[in-house]
């Protein structure tokens, strides 16, 4: 911001025009909905989000607002790195330190007999939901700090010879109204025919830890587009990327109200693995084009409104970058380099930092975790 233009004095009077350099600092603090409405003020205001000076200020404000959302115990927020070693052996590490340079191995409870483990979403109050990625029939809640494990009982899915049962877990979250942990999954029965597959018996079900049972629903929610796609949790809602009639949508499921909202994708023709969902500066955001060496990050300004996706970052092709892992923490986006090393880019400063750890190509998962000694009420196994 040029200080000389900042000091331009404008004589007030009949013409109370205020120059852009003074208006931008105000506008950049407004929410997306207001900014989109004010695009009707004048022609130059229509293109605010295409103005690099404005976007820069808008981003900086998002960053400082999100910093004030974090508590003082910022230091307790870590990463859990989960990866496949070999022969179905999985390692979990907690990464900590300013640059995430310290790696502490976490031991899985001995009772876990899951072959292909994956973490669903992110940790909720220090509790993970881990499940078998093969067929989603086994899931458990795990708090490493209290060593509690709770195996989730099966839902209403039936398994019969004539059809294949497909269960897909969609989200794990916390209902702060009822102080409950919930899971949502989709069940369908598929009969494979020569000409086409017959899908029937579709239903959704929600698991509540408090009731330790599943409840069926007949929502018409778009299903997860691809099985290893990301899902995020933010403010009582689980979000995932879904597809219906070849159209892509962000699906937002409210765990407390048990209702959902869909937002159309801002980009057409989303293919498998093209998009990752993350939480950035307190907003649901998408990383797009992640299969190429340059990628874009857009935040969603208003749920349900396709037009309110705002592109915040255009990350140029970086030498040696293979792919974003699909995790963002405090404005740092994590990715895997061509040599297998994991690193992050600080989106505001542009600095790249290796974290001194290698990430496996297909099965590297990084999840935000905050240690919590509060027991979620399970029996130790």
């Amino acid at each position: 911001m040029a200080s000389t233009s900042r000091n331009e004095k404008k004589v007030s009077g009949a013409n109370n025009y205020i120059p852009e350099s003074i208006v931008f600092p105000i506008l950049s603090k407004l929410p997306v909905k207001s900014l989109k409405r004010f695009s009707c003020v004048s022609k130059s205001w229509t293109h605010l989000f295409e103005n690099p000076v404005f976007i820069n200020m808008f981003r900086k404000n998002l960053v400082s607002k999100s910093h004030s959302l974090y508590n003082d115990d910022d230091d307790d927020v870590y990463f859990v790195l989960h990866q496949y070693v070999h022969s179905f052996r999985w390692d979990f590490y907690v990464l900590c330190g300013d640059k995430f340079e310290y790696k502490l191995k976490m031991d899985l409870p001995s009772s876990f007999h899951i072959r292909v483990i994956r973490i669903l979403g992110s940790a909720m109050n220090g509790v993970f939901c881990i499940y078998d990625c093969d067929n989603h029939t086994m899931a458990a809640l795990w708090n490493p700090a209290t060593e509690e494990v709770k195996v989730i009982p099966p839902g209403s899915a039936e398994f019969q010879g004539q059809f294949t049962t497909e269960i897909v877990l969609h989200g794990f979250g916390y209902d702060h109204v009822t102080d409950d942990y919930k899971l949502i999954q989709h069940v369908s029965y598929i009969t494979f025919n020569e000409s086409s597959d017959d899908i029937h018996g579709l239903f959704w079900e929600i698991y509540s830890l408090k009731s330790n049972s599943w409840k069926k629903f007949n929502f018409d929610i778009p299903v997860r587009d691809w099985i290893t796609g990301s899902d995020v949790y933010l403010n009582g809602e689980c979000h995932w990327w879904g597809k219906v009639n070849n159209e892509s949508y962000l699906v937002s499921f409210n765990l407390c109200k048990e209702a959902f909202l869909i937002t159309p994708s801002p980009i057409e023709n989303v293919q498998d693995g093209d998009v990752d969902l993350v939480v950035l500066y307190g907003h649901v955001a998408m990383i797009s084009n992640r299969n190429k060496t340059s990628f874009q990050i857009s935040i969603l300004g208003e749920f349900g409104v396709k037009e309110s996706w705002i592109k915040l970052f255009d990350v140029e092709p970086l030498f040696g970058i293979e792919q974003p892992i699909g995790t963002v923490m405090k404005g740092k986006i994590f990715f895997r380099k061509k040599d297998g090393e994991l690193a992050y880019i600080d989106l505001i400063t542009g600095l790249i930092q290796e974290i001194g750890i290698e990430g496996g190509k297909s099965w590297c998962q990084m999840v935000i975790y905050k240690k919590n000694l509060r027991r979620f009420g399970a029996i130790n196994m």
């Binding site: 909905k33 207001s34 208003e302």
Partner: protein
Amino acid sequence: MAQEASSSTSSKTISLKTGDGEIFEIEASAAKQMKTVQRLIDDLGDDITIPLHNVFSKELPKIIEYYKKDITGEITKDFEAEFVKDLNDDEVKVLFLAANYLDANKLFEFLSQNIADRLESKSVEYVRKYFGVENDFTPEEESKLREERAWSFRGIKEDE
């Protein structure tokens, strides 16, 4: 010599003269927070009355009040809320422009956030008037744009 100077500046006051001829005193440490004032002090010396042609007797005392609190580290969310509570939108704007002129960054940032909060649910016409922006759309262009952005008008009173 340097030590002597610093101990004398900590309790030294600077005289500021507004555009309408009134004189106000502020502490040198508060003046430091207003870069324009500090620049004038550097050029003119701290013994003479600093002329501020574009700031007037209505705003300056309020600004001085803010920085008085700032140098004692007492600025809290409550203080800031109280500070703007009784000001209408135009009064805040005048303060904001003064803070810009004085290059008083902290106050500038605070007031810009406050104005943003005030404008968040306002109508397009209100914002045009507020910033003195001319509507350069034709009626057709404007109504087309409003239709496209209909979702952003939900819940907004058009005459406010």
